[in-house]
């Protein structure tokens, strides 16, 4: 089944306590080369047909419901490669 992927990230200027906790754990494990971690969300919308209209619907939903523009940015809305599924 075709899948539209929506990816949402907390805004860069906002503190991401969950990402900060993971970064802290990585540093304790010796991964000094990883300076920061930010945690976002990936939605997979299984659709009947992944045409232009459905992609536009997904973009609308990404902006209106799947993200909150005050605290998050939609970073990607795209049709997943079939090979991935």
């Amino acid at each position: 089944m075709p899948t539209i992927v929506v990816e949402v990230m907390p805004k860069a200027e906002l503190l991401d306590p969950a990402g900060k906790a993971v970064a802290g754990a990585l540093h304790r494990l010796g991964h000094e080369g990883i300076s920061d971690v930010r945690i976002g969300k990936r939605f997979e919308l299984h659709v009947d047909v992944a045409d232009a209209a459905m992609l536009e619907t997904a973009r609308q939903l990404a902006a209106d419901m799947l993200s909150n523009g005050v605290i998050e940015d939609v970073v990607s809305v795209h049709v997943a490669e079939e090979a991935v599924r």
Binding site: P10, L14, L15, P17, A18, K20, M65, N68, V70, I71
Partner: protein, 231 residues
């Protein structure tokens, strides 16, 4: 006066809010999220809890539940609406109040008797306070950090829409110590602390006079009753 309290899946403090309404002298009416029926109430409380398990974002799914269409229409028509904690998050997600609420900056869930300063008495739910009055209301949340962009914060301050500010400590990283807001019309108020937990001697926060004697939360409910009598 009849005050509706909406129960969503995952609401926790709906019964407490009903009890507060009763103690203040109004009739509580239980409303259900899955209906479109406000049952002719005169005011609405969106209670605390974890509606829909805080999935997606706190309050995001509840803000799009069936009864919220009617709540939003009623709020836009001037009906008093109070959002407490998760209810505040629902009001923000429903765009009835600006800004957003994010995880506490220290990452921990917090529960404390919180001192607040009343910053606006020009609302249906705060008109019984004195401007600048210092009150103590229980606070309990994991995602109570209020944020908005600088322009919005300046507008909120300039228009007197900050209803409550945290005193002593900022418990969750809220910008400019904002604990609660009102809308321009004054009928919609949202705050993270829980006034419904400070309405009856013996069950409220501690005061200098006696343990658990704090009843500062009662004024929210008597305010809206007083306004309905006067209008």
């Amino acid at each position: 006066m009849r005050i509706g309290v909406v129960t969503f899946p995952g609401s926790l403090d709906d019964r407490d809010a009903q009890r507060a309404v009763r103690l203040a002298g109004a009739e509580p009416v239980a409303l259900w999220h899955g209906t479109h029926d406000l049952q002719g109430v005169d005011a609405i409380v969106l209670p605390g809890g974890f509606s829909y398990g805080d999935y997606l974002r706190c309050g995001a799914i509840a803000a799009r539940s069936p009864i919220m269409a009617e709540v939003i229409d009623a709020a836009n028509s001037g009906m008093p609406v109070l959002g407490i904690c998760n209810g505040f998050q629902i009001l923000v997600e429903a765009h009835l109040l600006p800004g957003g609420l994010i995880r506490n900056d220290h990452g921990d869930f917090i529960r404390r008797d919180q001192r607040l300063r009343v910053e606006s008495i020009d609302s249906a739910w705060t008109n019984g306070f004195e401007l600048g009055q210092e009150i103590t209301i229980p606070l309990k949340n994991g995602e109570g950090g209020f944020i908005a962009d600088e322009a919005t914060l300046d507008r909120l301050e300039g228009e007197g829409l900050v209803a409550f500010r945290y005193l002593d400590v900022n418990p969750n990283g809220s910008l400019r110590d904002i604990a609660g807001l009102r809308n321009e019309r004054g009928n919609v108020v949202g705050l993270m602390p829980h006034p419904e937990h400070a309405v009856e001697p013996g069950f409220g926060p501690n005061t200098p006079e006696a343990m658990r004697s704090g009843v500062d939360g009662l004024t929210f409910f008597t305010s809206v009753i007083k306004q309905s009598v006067l209008s």
